[in-house]
Structures are given as C-alpha cells and as structure tokens.
C-alpha cells in the first residue's frame, strides 16, 4: 500500500509544481503588457505625473518577482487584491460566484454521469444496431454544436414555446434549494447535453475495445449471457478509462461553463471572467484564470489517481 501512497504523493507534488508554473504564466502574461499596467489603465492621453502616481499606488516600482510572491502569497490566503473597475475586493466578488458555478457544474454532473455511462453501456451492448447508430449521430451532433447553439435551442423549446423553465437563471444566495434547482435547470441541461455525448462515446469505445480481448471470448464460450459479459466481465476492466473520462469531463464542466453562463446570464465565475476581459480588469482576470486552472489541474490529478487506483498494472510501472 505504501507504494500506492508514494505514487499518489508524487502525482500531488507534480500537480502543485504545474500549478506554480501556471501561476507564473498568469502573472507573467500581464507583466508582458506593452508599457506597463499603469500606462494601460490610464491610456495614451495620461500625463507623466498621473502615470507615476498610479504606478506608486499599485506598487509597480518594485521588481516583478517581489510582486509575484506577494500576489501568490495573497492568493494562497484567499486575497486576490482589488478590482480595477470598482475597487472592491476580488475575493469578495469571486467567492459567491464560484459557489454558483460549482452548484451548476455539480447539477450537470449528477444528471450527466449516470446517463452517459448507462447509454454508453447500452450502445456497446447493442452495437451496430439502430439504437447505436442513432446515439452515434445524435452525440456527434451535440459535440459539434457550439454550446450557445444548444443553449438557445433549449431556450426556444423549453422557455419560449412551452414555458417549462425560465430562460434567464438569476440565482442568488438566499434562495431555497428547489427554486435554485428550477432556475439553473436549463444551463445544467445544456452542459449535460455536451458532456453526456463525450462521455457516452468514450464509455462505448472503452467497452468495445475490451470486448475484443480473449477472456471475453472465453466467457462467451462458457455460456455467459451478453449482458452478464458486459456488466460482470467488461465493465470492471473498463472502469479505469471511464473514471478518466468522467474526471476530465468534470474538469470541462467547470471550465466550459463560460459560454453557458453568458447565454443564460447565470451569475458564475465565467460571466465574471468575460465581463472583466471586456473591461480589461486585470486582477479579476488573473484571479478567475487561477481558480479555473487550479480546478482543471485538480480534476486531471483526480483522473490520474483514479486510473492508478483502478488499474494495478499502473502501480508498478516498469
């Protein structure tokens, strides 16, 4: 067991290093602005004195690495500095929105994961049948469509033509769970469509890949039924790739929400990021990017660890 723990700790360390490098990139990207931040904020027409004053206020006169460590130290403690647009604390704006984004992604995941695995197993079980072909074409269509297209289609059919769900998901912190669920249903469904299609195709591919192996043929020959072969023999071995796909798609759910949040005016991190990019509000953009990147790296890490735990062969790399 210590070998497994060692491997996991190693992966965790690697993830931390990646996160550190990513934070350097995020910080360094803003440093590479033509001129500097103060010049950018005030524009071309600013006088030398005002630029110098702002530079002093923002502490831009100190060397970059000092400011990087200050920024990183603050970020670790949950302090991302002050927004340039409205002088409010970035963390204060970010925290409730991050909770909203997590809620939305969680809701989509709860619907999508069982649905995708079920459909994928069905498609593998009845492969080359009508069901498989229809599922193949529909999922390809869902993957190929931009998220905003799917979102607007759902709005047209479920919010405008038949008023089932509201088209604009204005959730707030003091709402009870039911209302919240009801209001965020359409964005969650949109994300479910995209993610389910991906996961379903991967699950199907993983199982079909296994069905070609000799031990499955052995099971068939000894008279095990088709569904038993898949659920008892193929599925446990297909678990590693499936866990991997699920974790990667959860990472996608958290980061891919940007478009969906904009379509449904959902108050999440994605919306904040897009607004701040338009306003060129650098501290907020940096904070959002760091949060997204950290989540992304975390889920990739979970995918790795899951793969190691579910496949004994990976625990003893040659």
């Amino acid at each position: 067991m210590s070998g497994v723990m060692g491997l996991i700790v190693k992966r965790l360390g690697l993830g931390l290093v990646t996160l550190l490098v990513v934070s350097i990139i995020i910080f360094g990207a803003v440093e590479m602005l033509p001129g500097d931040l103060a010049q950018q904020i005030l524009g071309q027409s600013a006088t030398e004195e005002t630029v110098a004053q702002l530079r002093e206020d923002l502490g831009l006169n100190r060397p970059a690495f000092v400011r990087y460590f200050e920024w990183l130290g603050g970020a670790v403690q949950g302090d991302f500095g002050v927004s340039l647009a409205n002088n409010r604390s970035v963390a204060e704006q970010l925290a409730p929105r991050f909770a909203n984004t997590l809620f939305l992604a969680g809701l989509a995941a709860v619907i999508a994961v069982p649905l995708a695995i079920g459909l994928g197993v069905m498609a593998a079980l009845y492969r080359n049948s009508v069901f498989d072909r229809v599922a193949n074409v529909v999922s390809l269509g869902a993957i190929s469509s931009p998220e905003f297209f799917l979102g607007y289609i759902l709005i047209v059919f479920l919010a405008v033509q038949n008023q089932v769900f509201p088209a604009i998901s204005n959730v707030s912190g003091d709402m009870d769970f039911g209302t919240r669920l009801y209001r965020s249903m359409l964005p969650a469904l949109t994300m479910t469509l995209v993610v389910t299609a991906y996961m379903m195709r991967m699950t199907r591919a993983a199982i079909i890949n296994l069905l070609a192996s000799p031990y499955i043929e052995m099971a068939r020959l000894k008279g095990v039924s088709r569904s038993q072969v898949i659920t008892r023999h193929a599925l446990p071995n297909a678990l590693a790739p499936i866990i991997n796909v699920v974790a990667l798609n959860l990472a996608y759910l958290i980061t891919g929400v940007v478009l969906v949040e904009v379509v449904f005016v959902y108050p999440g991190v994605g919306q904040l990021l897009v607004d701040s990019v338009t306003k060129r509000d650098f501290p907020v953009v940096q904070a959002c990017c760091l949060v997204f990147a950290a989540t992304f790296i975390l889920f990739n890490l979970i995918a790795d660890v899951g793969a190691i735990l579910s496949n004994p062969r990976l625990r003893h790399p040659k």
């Binding site: 990646t18 490098v21 990513v22 990139i25 995020i26 990207a29 803003v30 590479m32 602005l33 049948s129 009508v130 229809v134 074409v137 390809l140 269509g141 993957i143 190929s144 469509s145 931009p146 998220e147 905003f148 297209f149 607007y152 289609i153 709005i155 047209v156 405008v160 033509q161 038949n162 088209a167 990472a251 996608y252 980061t255 891919g256 940007v258 478009l259 904009v262 990021l273 897009v274 701040s276 990019v277 338009t278 060129r280 650098f282 953009v285 940096q286 959002c288 990017c289 997204f292 990147a293 992304f296 790296i297 990739n300």
Partner: protein
C-alpha cells in the same frame, strides 16, 4: 382530432405494418419507436409538436435522399479510383462532403451570391423577411442572408488559417522533437505539458485581455493554444517512424535533419495528420465562434457567425429562430467535417488490418 393528426398516425402505422410484413427489422424498430414517441408527444404537446416532428422527419429524409443521389452522381462522374472510394462512403460522409462543397462555394463566390454587401444597411432594425431579404434584417437593418454568406468567407477563412498555422508549428515541432530527441525533445515536451495544463478557452481569454482583440491577435493566440495538441500527435506518430531501418539508413547516408523530417518522416505520417487536421479544424472553428459570441473575437462590422448570434439574441425571447441560423451553420459545418473525418479514419484503419 384534426385531419392532420389522423393522417399522421394512419401513415405512420401503415409504414410500420409494411416494414413488419417485409421483415425490415431496423425500419420497424425505428418506426414503432416513432409511433410511441408521437403518441406521447401528441398527448402532451398537441398538434404543434407533431407538426414539428413531421418537419424534422421530412428534413432528415430530404438530406438522406440528397446525400444518396450526390454519392451516386459522384460514382458516375469520378474516374475509376474516386468512384471506388465513393462506393465505400456511408450516407453521412457523402452528406458531409456535399455540405462542405456548398460552404466552399458560398465562401468563394460570396459577393456574387449575396444580394447586398456585408455591412450595407438597407432596411429598419429587425425587418421581417420579404422576397428580397429572404431571412429578414438584423439589429441594424442589414440583410441577414447576405451576412450569412459573407460569414462563410470570414469565419471559415479565419478558422482555416488559424488551423493551418497551428498545424505547421505543431507538426514541425513534433517531428523535429522526434527526430532530434535528447534535450530538445524534453524541453518541448515540458512546454507543451504546461500549455495544456490551462484550459484553452480560459487561456485564450487571458491572452486576449493582454494583447487586445483583433483578427491577427485572435489567429495567433488560438494557433498558439491549439498547436500543443498537434505537437503531441505528431510526436507520437513520428516516434514510431524514427525507429525504422530506413531512417537509420538515411542517417548513415549523412542526410540533414531537415531532409529526414520532410522527405522520410512526413510522407509516412500524412494519413493520421490529415484526419487530425479535420478534427482540429472543428475545435478551432468552435473556439473562434465561441470567442466571437462572447464579443472578443472577430469584431463588427465584419460578418461572422458567432457575433451574429450574439447581436440578434434578443429576438430569441420572442420565439424567433432567425438568430439561430448562423449558429446552425456553425454546427452543420462541424458535423459535416466530423462525418468525413470519421469515414477517412475508417478507411485508413480498414486498410491496415
């Protein structure tokens, strides 16, 4: 019960029975599940849902027929080799091929096809459709159809250029890494790992904040972010090739690295790279549309499908579907490319076995 509903169910059940009588298992299963769905939908949503279903089925049938006749025509017209290839094409692939050709024609002959210029204001805001403006006007009174046609040129053109840049960079770097090996391989590999640790859309947003939005910046940023994926594939494919004996022989002849990459490795890596080009094009195309939709990509007044959806999105809350047409154009093109790539992958894998 209206006449329409009676006729609808009568025809459907008759088709079901015919399929059952002639033992067409697939058709029967499909038709019968359609009957069940229609019964449910008819009970819940009434006649309008059934009309929608009919339109959808008619569209599907029409596109299948179109794809079939297109394939058969190609088989007749093309020379021997091409005809043989087309015979193996499934309907989805020939449908994709047909649509891609239509998009190319629209992009190349945009000024001839479009009745008005892309930024020409000719009517009031959100003018309803008439004989001249087939799809009506947009939020500034420009002809939606003309902008759609010009959009094929702008959106697809920029996406193609971006993919090409990403591809050249990724492939050259990947092949060189495989051929040269050593520390260059290691360094490139680590850079790519780091670039891929940040979600692409987020990274694109960060970089666009810094460099500002313009078509050139957009192209370069997206190309930079998508080349690592191509690098990985090229590296993996070339990694299998450089261990071959003929590479060793070329090395012993004293050929230069450039010669090795271009003349020995690249020709043997074309098939997987071509399929990758199609897939990457889809991703790049979707990414650019997404950024344009967010208002950070291609800037007005250039006609572009992503920003057209955004500009006219207010209409959707009134039940109008015209703003969805550009979005549908994006989806159709990506689906078509995917269909064709699927077929190509199928052919190349079939030949190997």
């Amino acid at each position: 019960m209206s006449n329409f509903m009676i006729a609808y169910f009568f025809l459907l059940i008759a088709a079901c029975c015919t399929a059952a009588y002639y033992q067409y298992r697939t058709a029967l299963l499909l038709l019968f599940s359609l009957v069940c769905v229609s019964l449910l939908a008819g009970l819940l949503g009434g006649e309008s849902v059934l009309i929608n279903i009919t339109i959808a089925i008619a569209l599907l049938a029409a596109s299948a027929g179109l794809a079939y006749s297109f394939r058969e025509t190609l088989i007749q017209i093309l020379p021997r080799g091409g005809a043989k290839l087309m015979r193996t094409a499934p309907l989805t692939a020939s449908f994709g091929l047909l649509l891609i050709i239509i998009y190319i024609i629209a992009a190349v002959f945009a000024p001839i096809i479009a009745p008005y210029g892309e930024a020409e204001v000719i009517a009031g805001a959100f003018a309803p459709p008439d004989e001249v403006m087939i799809l009506g006007g947009d939020q500034l009174g420009r002809d939606l159809f003309s902008r759609l046609v010009y959009g094929a040129r702008n959106t697809v053109g920029i996406a193609l250029m971006t993919t090409a840049i990403a591809f050249v960079v990724g492939t050259v770097a990947g092949l060189s890494a495989a051929v040269l090996g050593g520390w260059i391989d290691q360094v490139l590999g680590r850079i790519v790992d780091t670039l891929m640790a940040i979600p692409q859309l987020i990274f694109a947003l960060l970089l666009l904040t810094i460099v500002g939005t313009s078509v050139i910046n957009l192209t370069l940023v997206i190309a930079l972010l998508y080349s690592p994926l191509i690098f990985r594939l090229a590296r993996a494919v070339a990694g299998n090739i450089v261990v071959m004996d003929y590479i060793e022989a070329a090395r012993l002849r004293g050929e230069s690295t450039w010669y090795l990459v271009i003349k020995e490795v690249l020709p043997n890596a074309t098939a997987p790279l071509a399929a990758e080009f199609g897939l990457r094009f889809c991703f790049v195309f979707l990414a650019i549309s997404a950024l344009s939709f967010l208002g950070l990509g291609i800037q007005p007044p250039t006609a572009d499908w992503g920003s057209m959806v955004r500009e006219n999105a207010t209409l959707i809350s009134f039940g109008e579907i015209t703003p969805l047409i550009p979005a549908a154009a994006i989806a159709l093109l990506t689906v078509s490319v995917n269909f064709v790539v699927d077929w190509m992958l199928h052919i190349s894998s079939g030949l190997k076995e």
